[in-house]
Each structure stands twice: as structure tokens, then as C-alpha cells.
């Protein structure tokens, strides 16, 4: 059986996974990936803005991960910061989603079929963004990722973390996954690539 080589990058397109991990004190898990973890600049702004991170703990946690997290500069993010430097009251609105769309467009034009963006998300709105429609995208929400880590024996305490996460929510976070597709049907090429 021929084995293909794939490049993987974890893309976090909304603030929630980072804020959730920070709430349960396990932001360090983002540093456990052996592939780049990418966050677009505007999403980083959403994560670290005072409304979401009043004590600056999340920002400090991300700083501790330093080179494990790759911040993707977007025209949307740069434009927002320029406008905000003129007027600090400039609303950020849904610029995070627009910035992620900009990044997804870049990925669509600059990456080949061997690139797998593993999108770690929580906000269901992400499913309507372009990044969720990239051909080889693999979607996981935070609980699905943690459950997989538990099933694989990589993080025995993952179930407790899921319980902790759900205890602070009104409704439990239902695990969600969507496997990367090839042109026609779900294929096993991804699985073969990793030698499972």
C-alpha cells in the first residue's frame, strides 16, 4: 500500500477553544501538538480582549507557549488595528470570521491536496466559513478532540476535563467531528498516510 505524506496544521478559527482550555487550566495542551498551531490575528484579539480575558491570564498563557503558536497576520487584522489606533472605540464586530475567511482563501490558493488543516473550533458559525469547506479540512470541536485523546490513551484525564468544561456551560458541548473528504467520497487516504 502506498503511503502519502501529508502536512498538518492546527487552525483555531474562533476564540472559544482557547478560552475553554484556559478556563480549565489546560492551555498547555495547545503546546502538545507536534505541528504548527495557527491563530489569525483578529481571533487572537478576540481571545485576549478585556471582555474575554479581564486579568490577562489567557494572553500570558499564550505568551508562555511562544513559538508553539503561529499568529497569522491578515489584512483584516492589520486594518482593524490601524483603525483602532485612531479610534479605540472601533468595534471589532465579526471581523474575526472575516479574517478567518481571508486566511482560508489564502490556504485554498497556496496549499495542495496533501495539506490537512485540522480545524479546532466550538462556534457552530465556523461551519459556514470557507475554512470549513476546504477540501481536505478535518473538523473537530474541543470535546471531540479531548475524547479522542482519551480513547487513544494520550491524555487519561481528558474525560474529567470534558466534565469540567460542561459543568460551566448551560448545555453540554456535544462532540463534533468531520473527516477530511476527497473529491468523491470519504476515503481512507488520510488514515493510510498516518499508518493506522
Amino acid at each position: 500500500m502506498s503511503r502519502k505524506t501529508v502536512d498538518v496544521a492546527v487552525v483555531i478559527p474562533d476564540a472559544s477553544p482557547v478560552l475553554t482550555l484556559a478556563r480549565v487550566g489546560r492551555l498547555d495542551l495547545l503546546g502538545s501538538f507536534s505541528v504548527p498551531v495557527r491563530i489569525v490575528d483578529q481571533v487572537l484579539y478576540e481571545i485576549t480582549k478585556p471582555a474575554n480575558d479581564p486579568e490577562g491570564e489567557v494572553a500570558a498563557g499564550l505568551r508562555r507557549l511562544h513559538n508553539r503558536i503561529e499568529i497569522i497576520e491578515t489584512n483584516v487584522g492589520v486594518g482593524f488595528h490601524t483603525r483602532r489606533s485612531r479610534d479605540p472605540k472601533t468595534p471589532s464586530g465579526n471581523l474575526g470570521e472575516i479574517a478567518v475567511d481571508e486566511y482560508a482563501t489564502l490556504l485554498a490558493h497556496t496549499t495542495g491536496p496533501s495539506f490537512v488543516p485540522l480545524v479546532l473550533f466550538e462556534d457552530p458559525d465556523v461551519l459556514s466559513l470557507r475554512i470549513a469547506r476546504l477540501k481536505t479540512v478535518h473538523l473537530l470541536n474541543t470535546t471531540a478532540w479531548l475524547l479522542t485523546l482519551h480513547r487513544e490513551g494520550l491524555l487519561p484525564e481528558a474525560l474529567e476535563l470534558v466534565e469540567q468544561i460542561n459543568s460551566s456551560r448551560k448545555t453540554p458541548m456535544v462532540p463534533f467531528e468531520k473527516v477530511g473528504l476527497t473529491r468523491k467520497v470519504r476515503s481512507t487516504w488520510l488514515r493510510r498516510s498516518f499508518g493506522s
Binding site: V8, V10, G25, R26, L27, D28, L29, G31, S32, F33, S34, V35, G61, R64, V116, L118, H138, L140, A144, W145, L147, T148, L149, R151, E152, L154, L155, P175, E177, V179, G180, R186, T188, L190, R191, S193, F194, G195, S196
Partner: protein, 77 residues
Amino acid sequence: MNADLKGCSVADVLEKLEKGRIGHAAAMEWLNVKSYDDLVEIMHHNGRLMPGHQPMRVTPETRALVRSIFRPNAQPR
């Protein structure tokens, strides 16, 4: 009240419900809960699943992908 539930403990009722021997309406009446959500909550708190519900299935692709990119040695900081 369902005659099968006479003399049962809470644990017995939850077990019967999980195994599909009684319906959720009977269990709700016995437990005196009004909403299905509460019933599910009680089941989960007691380590039981609702009949027909299965733990999340993780696809082999996801398992292989996560296994290949996660280093399990990270410690909490």
C-alpha cells in the same frame, strides 16, 4: 405506576431504563421528574446511558490524525 418498578431502588430503575426494559415515561414518573433533559442528566450523573444512545464514535481517520500530531508528554504549567 409501572408494576415492574414496585420495590425498585433508583439504581434498579436506571438500570432497567438503560437496558430498555422500561420506557422513559415510566422512569420519569417513578423519579418524579418532569423533563426528559432532567432524566438524561440523572442517567449521566449515575454513569448510565439512555437506551439506544451510544458513546461518541471516533472515526479511525480522526484517531490516526490526532495520534500522529499529539505529544503526550506535556505537563500542566
